[in-house]
């Protein structure tokens, strides 16, 4: 017989078992209800919660000048987005968008587009991309349901138009890249991150879970010096205005390393004002080719000396003022007399140049021009470099081309090519590769193997040094470039004035391209520079309008670089004015 206690325990166990079984049945029934009968609804709820993966924009790398000054950076610039709100009436949605329209200055079409997307059931719609942070804060203070901000950045250029053609720029959305922004985009842009956005059950708000953090872009250090860039742009703009030129460019390079210290092209544009004017976007230093005219005589002279076709004491009769070659007549800008070989170049006589150039064979002149890098890319790390034109000798006109090429016609060059060629005289005959990015790793990664990418010897050191000493320094001291003679420093260079060819009328016009290319100081060159003015209306000779620009820039740049005087300064000129005598 069971005791009272045993019966009580059994009864209790039974009750507990029933209770547990009942609980189990309830749970199972609920599971069946949710997962079997409520499958479709549950799936829809899950799909509502889950979002497509959202890209997280990385911070784009800064662009710095050689001294670490910021030339381009990225500022926070969120985008406004909207999500549908459950049980919100269409009228309330319209009211909400009306408020956004007022705050963000949206057009009626933009509002209609957003409303349309919300009606179609899109879960995420951009209202406006890349707005200012202040605007974003104002929007969020309105506390509009379903309206949220997506983090992002926009490009900002603190110096506005400074170095516009080097930096290139980009629009607010990070598209339409130009210049460095385009060339080094892979390094600057970083790696996008990924996140999942989902509806938090019960709260009605969305949360974001980061799957992969974005990797910020690398900073890029340029060879450009912001101060020298400013000097170059200021003086170029002044010259353009003074000589009423239609366009122009200035490039300053470190002769030893090929580092571009400044590159100015005009017309310029403000990098922070988008869209950029189409005409201004052309980088005339790299993306435009022109017939160089007399500056190309540096190649002719080098070829003649390298092939020993002319001596420094040889004389040429230039007194006629013209020379007939083939079917054409080549003239001088003013009639000269009998000139020695150096004087021919110092006075930039076409007649004299043609006389010694005709002693060369076409392949010899062509070969020297190729050695100087003409007809091939310099490898400068800016997009869109043009090769220019240097036809091979078998395409030259038998009677004319040699003479025309010798004085810088029938060839076209870009300004960087011309500067690099002149720079060979500053380096004792070596061609350096011009570049604008200082950062070695980044540059090495992207420099590739473009045509003309390697440094090479253009001419012998003897030829280079002799021509500088006997000819190109005297061009500045007593020749066509007298206006760029600097107090305290020696300089060497060559002027150029070329008539422009008009493709529509198939003839040369009375419009000119004026240029000056040179370097300074003579002892240890610190700057090589080219100045090109396109179609100047007031004074069209390179010596008249470009040489003074060289002087103005070089004077300021040498001071800025604290380059000591290499020769005595001329004694100061004391001027005095007598007061008019009082008549008694």
């Amino acid at each position: 017989m069971r005791s009272f206690y045993e019966s009580d325990i059994r009864r209790r166990v039974k009750v507990l078992t029933f209770l547990l079984a009942g609980w189990g049945v309830i749970v199972a029934a609920r599971l069946v209800q949710v997962q079997v009968f409520g499958h479709a609804r549950a799936k829809a709820a899950v799909l509502r919660q889950a979002r497509d993966k959202v890209k997280i924009e990385p911070r784009r790398g800064n662009i710095l000048d050689r001294n670490g000054e910021i030339l381009a950076c990225s500022l926070p610039s969120p985008s406004v987005a909207i999500r549908p709100v459950e049980k919100e009436s269409p009228a309330a949605t319209r009211d909400k968008l009306a408020k956004l329209q007022k705050e963000l200055g949206l057009t009626a079409t933009e509002v209609d587009t957003v409303l349309g997307r919300l009606r179609e059931g899109y879960n995420y719609t951009y209202v406006k991309k890349k707005i200012l942070e202040a605007d974003a804060q104002r929007i969020m203070s309105l506390k509009l349901a379903g309206v949220e901000l997506e983090a992002g950045t926009r490009r900002h250029y603190p110096h506005g138009p400074l170095a516009a053609h080097v930096l290139g720029g980009m629009n607010l959305l990070g598209e339409n890249l130009l210049g460095i922004e385009r060339r080094y985009n892979n390094i600057l842009k970083g790696e996008e991150g990924e996140a999942t956005s989902f509806l938090v059950p019960g709260s009605g708000s969305y949360a974001t879970e980061i799957i992969k953090s974005p990797v910020p872009g690398r900073d890029l250090v340029l060879t450009i010096d912001a101060t020298m860039q400013y000097i170059a742009e200021k003086e170029l703009a002044a010259a353009i205005e003074k000589h009423r030129a239609s366009a122009g460019c200035v490039i300053i390079m470190d002769p030893e390393t090929g580092e571009i210290l400044a590159l100015a092209s005009w017309p310029a544009y403000d990098l922070n004002t988008y869209p950029y004017p189409d005409k201004a976007c052309l980088n005339r230093a790299v993306q435009a080719a022109y017939e160089p005219g007399s500056t190309f005589k540096i190649v002719t002279a080098a070829a003649a000396r390298e092939h020993d076709r002319v001596g420094y004491s040889e004389l040429f009769d230039c007194s006629a003022g013209f020379i007939r070659v083939g079917g054409t007549t080549i003239t001088d800008h003013e009639r000269e007399s009998i000139l020695s070989f150096p004087q021919v170049l110092i006075h930039s006589s076409n007649v004299g140049t043609v006389q010694f150039a005709l002693r060369l064979k076409a392949p010899e002149l062509y070969g020297t021009a190729r050695d100087f890098g003409f007809g091939s890319l310099t490898g400068i790390d800016l997009p869109g470099e043009v090769k220019g034109r240097l036809w091979p000798p078998d395409q030259w006109t038998k009677d004319n081309s040699l003479a025309h090429v010798a004085i810088g016609y029938e060839v076209s060059v870009n300004a960087v090519q011309m500067l690099r060629a002149m720079n060979a005289f500053a380096t004792g005959g070596l061609l350096v590769r011009p570049h604008v990015v200082k950062d070695g790793i980044a540059a090495a990664a992207l420099r590739g193997t473009e045509d003309g990418d390697r440094s090479s010897r253009a001419i012998s050191a003897k030829t280079a040094n002799e021509l500088v000493e006997r000819v190109f320094s005297r061009v500045v001291e007593e020749g066509t470039a007298k206006l760029c003679s600097l107090d305290g420093y020696g300089a060497a260079g060559k002027t150029g004035t070329a008539q422009k060819y008009d493709d529509t009328i198939k003839a040369y016009t009375k419009n000119y391209t004026a240029s000056f290319v040179g370097f300074t100081p003579l002892g240890r060159p610190r700057l090589s520079m080219i100045v090109v003015l396109d179609d100047p209306k007031e004074g069209y000779y390179g010596g008249q309008n470009c040489a003074p620009v060289f002087k103005a820039i070089a004077r300021q740049a040498l001071r800025y670089l604290r380059v000591p005087w290499e020769r005595e300064l001329p004694p100061p000129t004391v001027t005095a004015e007598l007061k008019p005598r009082r008549t008694p």
Partner: protein, 103 residues
Amino acid sequence: MVGRKWNLKGIAVGGALAVVAIGILTFYVWYQTESVKLGLDIDHCDRQIRELEESIEALKLERAKLLDPARVEQIAREKLGLVEPADADISYRGGKNPSPERP
């Protein structure tokens, strides 16, 4: 009825075990609390670092704007009335360039 005799050794072992158990639990709770606290501190520091980095970027940008060469020149010329010195007013330490030979 027989009274149970207290085993002092057993009580001591039990007490010690209880103390150890309580100690471990206390340590575990302290450890967890500290971990969470440190996590929060790290998070706070990370946020501070981000904010400071943003401030540094903003200051660098401000500096770049203030040192804009055009602005500096304008202030120098217009506000301070400075003019460029004449060549003769400039002397370089070491005097003339030693003029190394051209390459």
